[in-house]
């Protein structure tokens, strides 16, 4: 090794200059955020503006787009499939979020107890949330199977039904099935987040309330709920956004069927925009979610800031 070889003087100087330049917070700051901004601009901000243009155009794959104004937003609104999709998405979001909140809170309260093997139980409870949703939904698909599914087997065994229920073949039952699977998958997120919130509440508050004669329900209502509110709001915000824009559960279980009766915004947008190649209309269906989500996000974040 000939480590004694000196670099040409010029290069040393430019190197030093460059380094001192990076010593300024401002220069270093911009240099460090630049890659993040580049990726987010190219693959998030630009597609967003492209999506807006698409949604205002008659835009078929492989053809020149033509500007059509708001027609892509108005035309689907007339179609029964779109109306059904809007209903489905709202019902799905409301029902699944409500169930996840209820069961998630219940599980969190159960997990505040100390017991042997708690770490293991908590780890097991998170599995539905961690493992690939598309794959665990396949297990449900197989459980719901009308002929060989375990759910129908149990119903028949218990004598509750003569012939199996057509879980994914009947519009109402199929929506119910999607809600059940989403609840199963989402409860861990609520439970573990709320548990983390519950553990930050001081035990002394509960003890003081108990001394003052508050019962369990009152302690929950007047201590747990208000103290938990910030966490609760953030968890709800994320959950509503994820549920409202969900794609894979509905896609794996029903692909929007039977007869397009269980579409959510995202699955309908996929069908119209990708499968049928009507980019303009698909982008419009997808972007219809944006203002609704925007309102939810702004309301919850403002509420959170006020607290």
């Amino acid at each position: 090794m000939t480590s004694g070889v000196a670099l040409p003087k010029e290069r040393v100087q430019t190197r030093v200059k460059w380094l001192t330049y990076l010593e300024h917070d401002r220069a270093l700051g911009y240099a460090l955020v630049a890659p993040a901004l580049l990726i987010l601009t190219l693959f998030l901000a630009y597609p967003f503006s492209l999506g807006l243009r698409m949604s205002l155009s008659h835009w078929l794959v492989g053809q020149e787009p033509t500007f059509v104004g708001l027609r892509n937003f108005i035309r689907p609104a007339d179609s029964p499939i779109f109306t059904r999709t809007v209903q489905n998405t709202f019902i799905y979001t409301a029902a699944a979020t409500g169930l996840k909140l209820g069961f998630g809170m219940a599980l969190a309260l159960v997990l505040t107890h100390t017991f042997r093997g708690k770490g293991l139980v908590r780890a097991a409870c998170l599995l539905p949330w961690i493992l690939p949703a598309a794959l665990s939904t396949l297990a449900w698909l197989w459980m719901f199977d009308a002929m060989f599914g375990v759910i129908n087997w149990c119903l028949r065994y218990l004598g509750l039904v003569q012939r199996g229920m057509n879980w994914l073949g009947d519009p109402a039952l199929a929506m119910l099935s999607i809600i059940v699977v989403d609840t199963w998958r989402g409860v861990p997120f609520f439970a573990i987040s709320l548990l983390a919130g519950l553990q930050t509440i001081s035990q002394e508050l509960y003890e003081a309330a108990t001394i003052d004669g508050a019962n369990a329900a009152q302690r929950f209502r007047y201590i747990t709920v208000p103290m938990l509110k910030p966490v609760l709001l953030v968890v709800l915000l994320f959950s509503i956004i994820w549920t409202f824009t969900d794609f894979q559960l509905a896609y794996v279980l029903t692909r929007g069927g039977p007869a397009n009766s269980t579409h959510l915004f995202a699955t309908l947008a996929y069908r119209v925009g990708i499968v049928s190649g009507q980019r303009g209309e698909g982008a419009a269906i997808s972007l219809t979610m944006f203002p609704i989500l925007g309102i939810v996000a702004v309301v919850l974040l403002l509420y959170l800031r006020r607290e």
Binding site: L19, L22, E23, R26, L28, G29, Y30, L32, V33, P35, I39, L40, F43, L44, Y46, P47, L50, G51, A106, V110, H113, A123, A124, C125, L126, L127, P128, I130, L131, P132, A133, A134, L135, S136, L138, A139, W142, M147, F148, V150, W153, V187, S193, A196, T200, V234, F238, T245, Y251, A266, A269, Y270, G273, I274, G282, A283, S286, M289, L293, A297
Partner: protein
């Protein structure tokens, strides 16, 4: 507060058992279907909870008759690269936004949080055209470059929280001792933020492994799919007798994530609650 045994049974043991049964049953069902021979699988008279003659036939079918191994390789490749890219960029951005004072930093921090809220289903149609225009359709790079759109906001946000908890004085001491800010960041701050970096990394890997809609739309050919998309779209056929291979694929596709998860449970919990509790 000490609880009586009966009270403890109704408030703890009973609900806990019910929760665990419902939570774990689909995985049990996945497993038992994957090792059940067709003769038992399609016999409606048999008790479906048990298996009499376990078999590896479905796994053999999966390996020999489908492209499962190719999908597994693709999923791994895409997940590792997109995680590495996102983590590097997220560390840089997270450090800058948590530590450095520069114009627009706070606006950018809010902007990162807002992009974290943007779901992939909002933009996949125009993004498909961007991917096509870049010549990336049917290339794993379509996913490696687009997954960072949700991984970077997530890891930046999580790491910002971690960097903020490390006292400024540590860095200032190093800089007084002659380290440049860059050296202080690499040698002092990064090692201390390692738990956060690990959290962001395994979470990002899991999110990439599990991602569905981008992989479905950007990789239409069957030989370069990822596991979730490959299993869902290539194994569900018109005929119904695919339960065994389907569950075998679902099981094998979940196992890598389950293994990582079992080693790093606490880091997952930290990653999961980072947004909710600290935000």
């Amino acid at each position: 507060m000490r609880q009586r045994p009966l009270e403890r049974f109704f408030l703890l043991h009973l609900p806990l058992c019910l929760f665990l049964i419902v939570t774990l049953f689909p995985f049990y069902w996945m497993f038992i279907t994957a090792i059940k021979p067709n003769a038992e699988l399609y016999n409606v008279r048999m008790n479906p909870f048990l298996v009499l003659k376990p078999t590896l036939d479905h796994f053999r079918y999966l390996m020999q008759e489908t492209l499962f191994l190719t999908w597994a390789y693709n999923t791994f490749y895409v997940s590792v690269l997109s995680t590495a890219i996102s983590l590097l960029i997220g560390i840089m951005a997270g450090y800058a936004l948590a530590r450095l004072r520069f114009k627009g930093a706070s606006v950018m921090a809010v902007g990162i949080f807002v992009t974290y809220l943007i779901p992939p289903t909002l933009l996949f149609i125009p993004l498909a055209d961007v991917v096509r225009a870049l010549g990336l359709l049917d290339s794993p790079w379509a996913l490696i470059l687009t997954y960072p759109t949700f991984l970077i906001p997530f890891s930046t946000w999580l790491l910002m929280g971690y960097f903020k908890t490390i006292p400024r004085e540590l860095e200032e001491c190093a800089m007084i001792d002659g380290a440049t800010r860059f050296q202080a960041m690499i040698k002092i701050i990064l090692p201390l933020a390692l738990p956060g970096i690990l959290s962001a990394g395994i979470f990002a890997f899991t999110l990439s492994w599990n991602e569905f809609i981008y992989a479905l739309v950007f990789l239409p050919s069957s030989d370069i799919k990822t596991i979730p998309v490959g299993v869902v779209s290539e194994l569900i056929r018109g005929d119904v007798f695919v339960g065994g291979p389907l569950m075998a694929g679902a099981l094998l596709g979940s196992v890598p994530v389950a293994i990582i998860y079992s080693f790093f449970v606490e880091y997952y919990v930290a990653g999961l609650t980072a947004g909710a509790v600290k935000g």
